[in-house]
Amino acid sequence: MSKSGEVSWKSENLGKRRWAFVVFLGILILHGLAILVFTRGFLLTRTELSQYSHCSDIQQSPCFSPPQDDQMVNHSKGCWTKPAVDRIVIIVLDALRYDFVAPSTFFDEKKTWMDRLQVLHKLASQPGSFAKIFKAIADPPTTSLQRLKGLTTGGLPTFIDVGNSFGAPAINEDNLIYQMAKNGKRVVMMGDDTWVQLFPQHFNISHPFPSFNVKDLDTVDNGCVEHLFPYLYQEDWDVLIAHFLGMDHAGHIFGVDSTEMIEKLEQYNGILEKVVDVLESQSGPGGLHENTLLLVMGDHGQTINGDHGGGAPEEVETSLFAMSLQKNPSSLPSETDSSSCRLDTEKRKICTSSIEQLDFAATVSALLGIPYPFGSIGRVNPELYALAAGSERWMQNYVNVLCMNTWQVKRYIDVYSASSVIGFSDKDMSHVSDLYAQAHDNWLHTKEAVLNCKSESCSTLLPQLKKQVEAYSNFLSSITALARSKWTEFNLKMMGTGLCILVLSLFVHIFTIKKLDKLCSCYLPRGGDFVVTFEAIFAYAAVLIRSFSFLSNSFILEEGKTASFLLATAGMLQLRHAIVKKKMLLEGLLFVLVVPLLRFGIELGQSKQAVNSLFLKSFASWTVSVDNGTNLWIYVADILPFLALVILAYILYYKSITHSSCRGIFKLVAVGTIFASSLIALAWALDGNLCSPSTVIVDIKAYWIPRIIYFIGLLQLFLLAISQLFGKEKTSGWEEDTIVKVTAMLSAWSSTIIILSGKQGPLVALAAVIQGWCVIRLMTLERAKNDYYDSSTSYSSPVAKWSLLAVCLFFCTGHWCAFDGLRYASAFVGFDEFNLIRQAALLTIDTFGFSHILPVMGLPLIVACRRHPEVQAEKRKSLFFLQLCQVYLMYGLTMAISMTLTIICVTIQRRHLMVWGLFAPKFVFDAVGLLLTDLFICLASLYYFA
């Protein structure tokens, strides 16, 4: 080849490379745009109003002003309502399940973690009870940040806020803490630092402790205890908030049914006992806590695995224990008493009722006599109010409180629908207005009756009051229902636009693939019949079946099994093909036999998920047989990861180091990975009981080895990038070269991914390697045919299998498409402190490593391993490049098709009961997965298209 020819060849190649990159970048941007637009329409954002409630607003309301000449002993004056308590101690126990608090007799079965907070039972069961256990029902999303926001604003935080959970922003809406600070209540806070992030300026004194290190069970709790007790003897605060986190962390790491959890519960029992003792000792007349209310509450529940975030009953049911230290409790009239009573294990009668977390802000405001937060749509809970504000005339007070409450909610709804772009519908508004008008008319009568009833004997008053309460409750509950159903305003136009853009991107994909087909056909020999093999047809069908299965929530739940079913079917068809051809039988059989192993992994992950999912039935039968197995099983389970690791390292050694075309940097990368593997093995060996746990060893295995491995991984990627920049172009032997490059790239990623995913890592990696190898080997089956077909048709089967395999790997590694499916603990492998970018990167690598990063990076193997000996050497390179492009496009297409169907499904099911529990997380996972795939395809195109 002449010099000038070589130059033009080079520049042409460079141009093509740029062209490919531009195409992939374009698709990335198109997908990003589609998802962005759709998300804007779908993931609801409630308009936050900037108005605040003010003390003086009471003059506009039709209700009574609280008497200014109060007989209350302390300085606090009522503002909207007559204050019922002087001080409130709020103890928040993160992830407090309802069955932690309620006696075990309330449930079908007594579990180990029940009946541990005995002090609460004792208090609640005392006759003439001034303490009560409530079942508090939270609204999803049940993450701490959203719940704190909901508790303090009295509103419904929307899904989009989940994204802000890392790095909580301050609340800009009117909220309880703001109102407390504004109205002269001194607030002391200790514990979870999320509070300080939410309310940076409102606390008089705060003692925040870092909340993000899930592994740390005690720092926050010890800090709380240390500060809590001194404050109980002090006078300089009105509201004290102590947020204990240990239970949430114990749940995340060990699950509910664990000794750590029970220890935590027992510790809390002790703390609460002591708190109650201190409070009671000073609750005499004139004492510090004469008129104090103690609230012990959870912000959300948790599943048996300690996960939360969704809308499953276990997650939304938390509890609230309230105890008034005032010694004049009133018993509630029976009509409002929604409680159910049972005997506990010690034959004490305990009654529990139910409360909405939505009502918390309004109730606490009413008790303290401060204005309700402007955006609160909750109702003052009668039982909690009566418990704390017990007095002779509590019913009259309560009616007035409800009057204020109703007026404030009506005002908010009016302002909201006037200022928001899409307010409530006219029909709903007129219905609500009617209810309000009714209640208001009634109020005029009631007001009269109350005013006339200064004398003691007025028998008509009580029924009138009850009627009034009912009217208000009607209005408020219809508002809550309206808000819950309609709040979440989907912007259908945006959603439609996003969907259209995505569909457009599908056409771009298909068009480009077809175009490349034409280009490829110049190189490929023509001859024979145009054949579409059955395998190719099934590949298309499998992608479509999988995508369309997302239209049903059941198939989304069982997505992993669906994928393994389709993968197994594809494998069986391939095996049949192999039998027809009478070769590659071994590979076909191996492929088919590894699929059930992947499925067992998926089922294992699912059994973890099934515990907290009501919708999912678990097939735990085979896992049970492992669980109650003998020592041999445990031994085998211990040794298998090491074995797999050794095999992986050997494969790498055999494939790359002994390989002739593996030189220089690539060899170095392979050596690095083998070194990293041995480090991983070392870390796990130290993890066992072999050595005595000295701090040095713990440090080494928990911090230094992971960090060294991350460092090696980064270094390897850096080296590969360098080699790409300064590498020489070759025109021959580049197929081998590509294989070496792919191997180096995969090995650079693998050690990090394996250490993040724990001991299952090498097993899954080994299975993936076997399956990938089988797919590639079996691909040559079709080569034997002399028939002519499109290059896209010939690659459709391996690409489809590759993507199905990727899906299986995602579920096999114990993930699922829900936020409780994220393995937060893996973000802290090697690190203890929380750093947003670092931990988010680790979590992303753990979640998407096996299922997105490795498959995309390994995809060129499909093309590189298929030789076209009939094509001339220099043309072969162009062909290779075109086909690689095509394969990447096809892989992207499979992802984009399933994303499209997910979006359609989410659009159809947007009013579904499980939309926040199931469809929205699925959408988010798919969207992130698609964008990551696109991004890595872009990077891969830079790396491989040399």
Binding site: I579, V580, V624
Partner: protein, 227 residues
Amino acid sequence: MKMKKNDENGGNTILSVSPLKAITLHLICLLGLALAFWIPNHIYSLDLITHPSQTLRMISVFLAPVLILLYSHLRHDGTQCSYVKAVGRGLLALPAGAVVNALGATILGAPVGFEYFPKTFNWSLMMSLLTFVPAACVFGSSWTDWHRIFARTKASESTDYMISLPAHGAVIGAWFGAWPMPLDWESPWQEWPICVTYGAIAGYLVGLVTSLGCIIFCNRQQHLKEE
């Protein structure tokens, strides 16, 4: 290559099945299937939904003699192989085919575990009857025939249709039958292996009808050619 195969088959001088015989055979098959369903249901009052395992066993017990005796009549190598021998190899194929079917089901996602074992076992016996046993009765251990029937699906004569189509129908039907399993309808028939059994039976019936149609069609073509 195709030509060569045809020659081989042609050289074997197989007794071709007349349409009438095929119809009778298929009718008896249908009758056997219906009886195998009817008897457990009405005499032993066993239901596939309530007692899947026992019912499947019953179906196998009633179906096995009908199919084995019937298909042994069609044995390929009639001159060298006695009727009893054909029946014998049919009986041998029953467990062998069951193992293959059970393995296939497990690979595709059938639940594994002690409580599912009897269900899977009985189901795979039935599947073996619908798929492998007839072929074993007819072809014995002739690998080329098996290969032709199950791997290449290139039917060359009417017995091929009679064996290959119902067997493929049963497998494909079972595959489709598994689809409703994950749905949350909470119906008892969604359990393994009930809907898969229904699917397999439905597929088998479709296969029977199709094979009948094929045989009649081929016969007519042949007649036309001869004329």
